[in-house]
C-alpha cells in the first residue's frame, strides 16, 4: 500500500518534469539550430591563458586552505547532525525532525547569503569564507551522511546492542566503520564542489580560484576562465583519485568478479620435488611424507608462524601507508586552518555580533513584491523539474556505466567517471552562457544548464551508491551466468534503489536552489529575487525567500525520507 503511494508520488514527480519540459517549450530543434553559436563561443576560449605560475600557486594554496577548512568544518558539524537525523541512530522523532530541519536550512540558504551574513558577523577574511562555505556545505554533507548511516547493515549494530553497548558505542564501533568509505567520499566530493563554489569568497575579500574564475567570466575573459577551470579540473581529479583510492582500499571486493588473469609462471621452489614431471594430475598420494608436509604447513599457518603475541597489528607496509596518509591529512588540515585565519579574536567578535546580525533578517518581509515572489517560485519549480528530468535521463545511464561493479571493465568505468568529472568541472556560468548563446536568455537555457550540470552530481552519486551495494547477492547472480545488465536489474538496482531515488530527489532540491544560477542567465525565478534582495540590502525579503525555498525543500526532503522508508 505504502509502496503503491510512494510509486505514485515518484511518478507524479516525473510527470511534473515532463510537463515542465513541455511548458517551457524545450525542444531539440531550437537547440540544434543555434549549435554553431555555441561552437563559436567555445572557440573563443582558446588559446587558454594561465595566470603566472607564482600567482597561480598562491591562488591555489589560498583557496585550498579555506576550502579544506570549510569542508572539515562541515564534516565536524555534519557527523553529529547526521547521526541525529538518520532513522536508525536518532534518539527520537523530535531530534530527528530538528536536525533534518537544520540540515535543510543550511541547504536552503545559498552560500552568498551566508557570506553576506558571516561578513557582518566576522568581518572580512578567510574565517568568514570558511564559515559561509562550511555551514552551507552541511546541507549536502549532513544529508548524504544521514543517508549513508541509514544505508548501513543493521546486523553488526544489533550484535553490539546485544552486548549492552550504549548508543554512542554502537555507533562508533558498528555504524561509522561501515559508513566510513561513504563519509570520506562525500567529504572529498564536497571539497571539489567547494573549490568551485569558492567564487563566493570574493564577497568576503578573499581572492581565490573560484573568484578569479567568476571575475574572468564576468569580464568576458573566457580564455582565462577556461584556464582556471582547467586548474580546478586538475584539482578535482586529484581529489577524485584520492577518494577513489580510499574507496578501493576501504570497500575492497566491490567488484563482483575479478577477471581471471593468465596464470603467471609458478615459482614453487621448495615444493617442486613433490610433483615429479609436473604433468600428471598428481594427487598428494605420493606418500605419507607429502601429507605430513601439508599438515605441517597447516599447523604453522594456523599458529601464525610467529611466536610473538601481539595485541596490535605489525607495522607492515599497509599500516605504515595508512598511518602516513592519516598524518599527512591531519597536517594539511592544521596548516589550512592556520592559513585561513582561524583565530580567537575573530571568534569572539563573531559571538558578539551574531544576534544583532540575525536581527537584520527579522521579521521576514515581502518588500512589496509578495505576488511576484510566488510567481517566481512557481517558475523556479518548473525549471527545477525540467532540469532534473534532463539530469535523470543523462545521469542514470552515465552513473550506471561509471560503477565498477556494474560494467565489469574497470577501464570503461573509469572512462565514464572521467566524463562525469569533466561535466562537474565545467564552470556553471560557462555552461549557462553556452545555453544562453544557443537558446537565448530565459527559463529554457536555465533548465538545460541545470540538466547538464546535474550529470556531475547525480551521476557521481548514482555510481557511488551502486558501488556500495553488498557484493554478495550480485555474486550469486553472476554465478547463475546472468549477464551484466541482468545482474544489475536483478540484484544491484533493487538494493541501491532507495539510495538512487533519494539522490534523485536530492538533485531536484539542488536544482531548486541552483535558481541563483538561473537568475544570472535571466531565467527569472526565485533565485534572482534572492540575489537581488541581498544586493540591495533588503534582508527581510531575503528571509522570506529563504523561508519559501525552505518550505519547498522540506517538502521534497519529506518525500525523500518517506520514499526511503517505504523502499528500505
Amino acid at each position: 500500500m505504502a509502496g503503491l503511494s510512494a510509486a505514485t508520488a515518484l511518478l507524479l514527480c516525473v510527470s511534473g518534469g515532463v510537463w515542465a519540459f513541455i511548458a517551457l517549450r524545450l525542444n531539440i530543434a531550437t537547440l540544434t539550430d543555434s549549435a554553431d553559436n555555441a561552437v563559436d563561443f567555445l572557440s573563443r576560449t582558446l588559446p587558454l591563458d594561465f595566470p603566472p605560475a607564482g600567482e597561480l600557486l598562491s591562488l591555489i594554496w589560498q583557496t585550498l586552505a579555506i576550502v579544506v577548512s570549510a569542508t572539515v568544518l562541515s564534516v565536524v558539524l555534519s557527523v553529529p547532525l547526521a547521526l541525529l537525523a538518520a532513522r536508525n541512530t536518532t534518539p527520537g522523532a523530535g531530534a530527528r525532525l530538528a536536525s533534518r530541519g537544520l540540515i535543510v536550512l543550511c541547504r536552503a540558504v545559498p552560500e552568498v547569503v551566508f557570506a553576506i551574513t558571516a561578513f557582518r558577523v566576522f568581518g572580512l577574511g578567510g574565517m568568514t569564507g570558511v564559515v559561509a562555505l562550511g555551514v552551507h556545505s552541511v546541507g549536502m554533507v549532513g544529508k548524504l551522511y544521514a543517508d549513508a548511516v541509514e544505508q548501513t547493515d543493521e546486523g553488526p549494530r544489533t550484535a553490539l546492542r546485544a552486548t549492552g553497548a550504549g548508543r554512542l558505542q554502537q555507533i562508533t564501533a558498528a555504524v561509522l566503520p561501515q559508513a566510513l568509505p561513504s563519509l570520506v567520499a562525500t567529504a572529498l566530493h564536497r571539497l571539489d564542489i567547494n573549490l568551485r563554489a569558492s567564487a563566493v569568497l570574493g564577497f568576503v575579500g578573499v581572492n581565490g580560484l573560484g573568484y578569479a574564475l567568476s571575475t574572468a567570466i564576468t569580464t568576458l575573459d573566457y580564455q582565462r576562465a577556461m584556464a582556471i577551470a582547467l586548474v580546478l579540473l586538475l584539482l578535482c581529479f586529484v581529489a577524485e583519485s584520492i577518494s577513489g583510492a580510499i574507496r578501493r582500499t576501504l570497500l575492497q571486493d566491490v567488484t563482483a568478479v575479478r577477471r581471471p588473469r593468465r596464470p603467471r609462471p609458478e615459482r614453487k621452489g621448495a615444493r617442486r620435488d613433490r610433483r615429479p614431471g609436473g604433468t600428471a594430475p598428481a594427487r598428494p598420494s605420493s606418500g605419507a611424507t607429502a601429507a605430513t608436509t601439508a599438515i605441517a604447513t597447516a599447523a604453522s599457518v594456523a599458529h601464525g608462524g610467529t611466536s610473538v603475541r601481539r595485541s596490535l597489528p605489525r607495522w607492515d607496509a599497509r599500516r605504515i601507508r595508512r598511518t602516513t596518509w592519516l598524518v599527512l591529512t591531519v597536517a594539511l588540515v592544521v596548516a589550512s586552518a592556520l592559513r585561513s585565519g582561524l583565530s580567537w579574536s575573530t571568534l569572539r567578535r563573531g559571538a558578539e555580533s551574531f544576534f544583532p546580525t540575525l536581527g537584520d533578517f527579522l521579521p521576514p518581509g515581502t518588500g512589496g513584491i509578495g505576488d511576484q515572489l510566488w510567481a517566481d517560485l512557481w517558475v523556479t519549480l518548473q525549471i527545477a523539474l525540467a532540469g532534473t528530468l534532463i539530469g535523470l535521463v543523462l545521469a542514470l545511464p552515465l552513473g550506471t556505466l561509471a560503477a565498477r561493479n556494474v560494467v565489469g571493465s574497470p577501464r570503461v568505468a573509469r572512462f565514464f567517471r572521467t566524463v562525469i568529472l569533466l561535466v562537474r568541472a565545467i564552470p556553471e556560468l560557462v555552461l549557462a552562457i553556452v545555453f544562453v548563446v544557443v537558446t537565448g536568455l530565459g527559463a529554457v537555457s536555465g533548465a538545460l544548464a541545470l540538466g547538464v550540470g546535474s550529470v556531475g552530481l547525480l551521476g557521481k552519486l548514482v555510481a557511488d551508491s551502486l558501488e556500495e551495494t553488498d557484493p554478495g547477492p550480485a555474486r550469486a547472480l553472476v554465478a547463475t551466468g546472468a549477464r551484466r545488465h541482468q545482474v544489475f536489474f536483478g540484484s544491484v538496482l533493487p538494493r541501491a534503489w532507495p539510495a538512487v531515488v533519494g539522490h534523485l530527489l536530492y538533485q531536484l532540491d539542488v536544482n531548486l536552489r541552483s535558481a541563483t544560477l538561473l537568475g544570472i542567465v535571466g531565467a527569472g525565478g526565485i533565485g534572482y529575487d534572492l540575489l537581488n534582495a541581498a544586493r540591495v540590502l533588503q534582508f527581510p525579503v531575503v528571509t522570506t525567500i529563504v523561508l519559501m525555498v525552505l518550505a519547498l525543500v522540506l517538502l521534497i526532503e519529506g518525500l525523500a525520507v518517506w520514499v526511503r522508508k517505504v523502499y528500505a
Binding site: P156, A159, T163, G164, A173, Q178, A298, G304, P313
Partner: protein
C-alpha cells in the same frame, strides 16, 4: 589453516565438560509466561513464537531444537530484549522484558552474551577489534579503532581468539574470514562480555565436527567455571544430547518438548522433526509429557561433547 588451538584437548575421546556443574536452586534465570511474538497483522500475520512458558535455573545448559522456521531465533532475540514481545511476558536475570525501559534493557544485555546465527561481524574491522567490541558494555565512552581499547581488553580478546583457534587471524579483516571462522569470532565476542547468561543461535552451524566440538567444549567449560546459564539453539541432536542438561523443542513457535537429556534416547528427540502429516502428533506429545516437569539436574549428570576423532560410537553419551 586454523587447526584447533592447542588449548583444546582432543586427545581424550570424550572430553568432559559440564560435568559436575550442579544447577543451583536459586531464582530461575529465565522465566517465561505466555511469551508471544507475531509478525505482521491480519490474515498474513505469522505467530513466530506462540505462548511460550518455561523456566531455566541458574547453571542449566539448555539446547533449543526445532525445525527450520520454528521460532528459535525469534525466541532468543525476545529473551535479549532485541525485539518486543507481542504479548505475554518474561523475566530474564530479574528483568521483566515487557516492562523494562531502555537503560534497564541495556543493563540486562550487558549480562547476556549473544551469538547471532548470521554472526553480524563488522566486516570492515579487524577480527581482534570485533572481539574487543564485546567488552563495550563494560567500558565507558565510545571507541574508535583498536588502539582506543585498553590493553587489558585487547589481551583478553586475544585469549578469546586463541581459545577459538583464530589467534593467527587477529588482524585480518573480518569479512575475509571463512564462514566458520566468522562464526567463531562471534562466539569469542560474546564471551568477551563475561556474561551470566549465554544465548547462542546455532553457534556451530558453519563449523566442521572438530571445530564444533571445540566451541561447544569451550562453552561448556566456561559455563562450568563461571556458573553460566546457557540457552543455545542447535541442529545437531547428538551434540545437544551429549552436551546439554535439557532439551526444549519448538514447533511452529510452540514448546512441544521439554526433556532432560539424561535418560532420553535419540529417537525420542528425533520425533521433534517428524512430519506433522505422518500423524505423529502423539509422539511429540509423549515427548512433551516426558519433559513436563522441569528436571532438577542431578549433580552427576553432565553432558559431554564427543571429540571429533571418535567414530559414531562417540555419539553415545557418558564419560
Amino acid at each position: 589453516m586454523t587447526a584447533p588451538a592447542p588449548t583444546a584437548t582432543a586427545a581424550t575421546a570424550t572430553a568432559t565438560a559440564t560435568t559436575g556443574s550442579p544447577v543451583t536452586a536459586g531464582e530461575p534465570v529465565i522465566r517465561l509466561d505466555g511469551l508471544t511474538k507475531r509478525f505482521g497483522t491480519g490474515a498474513d500475520s505469522l505467530l513466530a513464537v506462540d505462548d511460550v512458558s518455561f523456566e531455566v535455573r541458574p547453571g542449566e545448559v539448555v539446547a533449543l531444537l526445532g525445525l527450520s522456521g520454528s521460532g528459535k531465533s525469534t525466541l532468543l532475540s525476545l529473551l535479549d530484549g532485541l525485539q518486543a514481545p507481542t504479548s505475554g511476558d518474561g523475566t530474564v536475570l530479574g528483568t521483566a522484558l515487557a516492562r523494562a525501559d531502555r537503560s534497564e534493557l541495556r543493563a540486562l544485555r550487558r549480562r547476556i552474551g549473544f551469538v547471532f546465527q548470521q554472526f553480524h561481524l563488522v566486516g570492515r574491522l579487524s577480527v581482534l577489534e570485533n572481539v574487543c567490541t564485546g567488552a563495550l558494555g563494560s567500558l565507558r565512552g565510545p571507541r574508535l579503532g583498536l588502539l582506543s581499547y585498553p590493553r587489558a581488553v585487547r589481551e583478553r580478546a586475544l585469549d578469546g581468539l586463541e581459545q577459538v583457534g583464530l589467534a593467527a587471524h587477529a588482524f585480518q579483516r573480518a569479512d575475509t574470514l571463512s564462514g566458520g571462522q566468522q562464526q567463531r569470532v562471534a562466539v569469542a565476542r560474546a564471551l568477551m562480555q563475561e556474561p551470566g547468561l549465554l544465548l547462542a543461535d546455532e553457534p556451530v552451524a558453519s563449523l566442521d565436527p572438530e571445530s564444533s566440538a571445540q566451541v561447544m567444549r569451550l562453552l561448556a567449560r566456561v559455563a562450568q567455571e563461571r556458573e553460566l546459564t546457557v540457552l543455545c539453539s542447535l541442529h545437531q541432536v547428538d551434540l545437544a544430547l551429549s552436551w546439554a542438561h535439557r532439551i526444549i523443542g519448538l514447533r511452529a513457535g510452540r514448546v512441544v518438548m521439554d526433556v532432560a537429556t539424561e535418560g532420553i534416547d535419540r529417537a525420542t528427540v528425533m520425533r521433534l522433526y517428524e512430519e506433522v502429516a505422518a500423524g505423529s502428533a502423539e509422539g511429540v506429545a509423549a515427548a512433551v509429557a516426558v519433559g513436563s516437569a522441569v528436571p532438577p539436574r542431578p549433580a552427576a549428570a553432565p553432558g559431554s561433547v564427543p571429540a571429533p576423532a571418535a567414530a559414531s560410537a562417540a555419539f553415545t553419551k557418558g564419560d
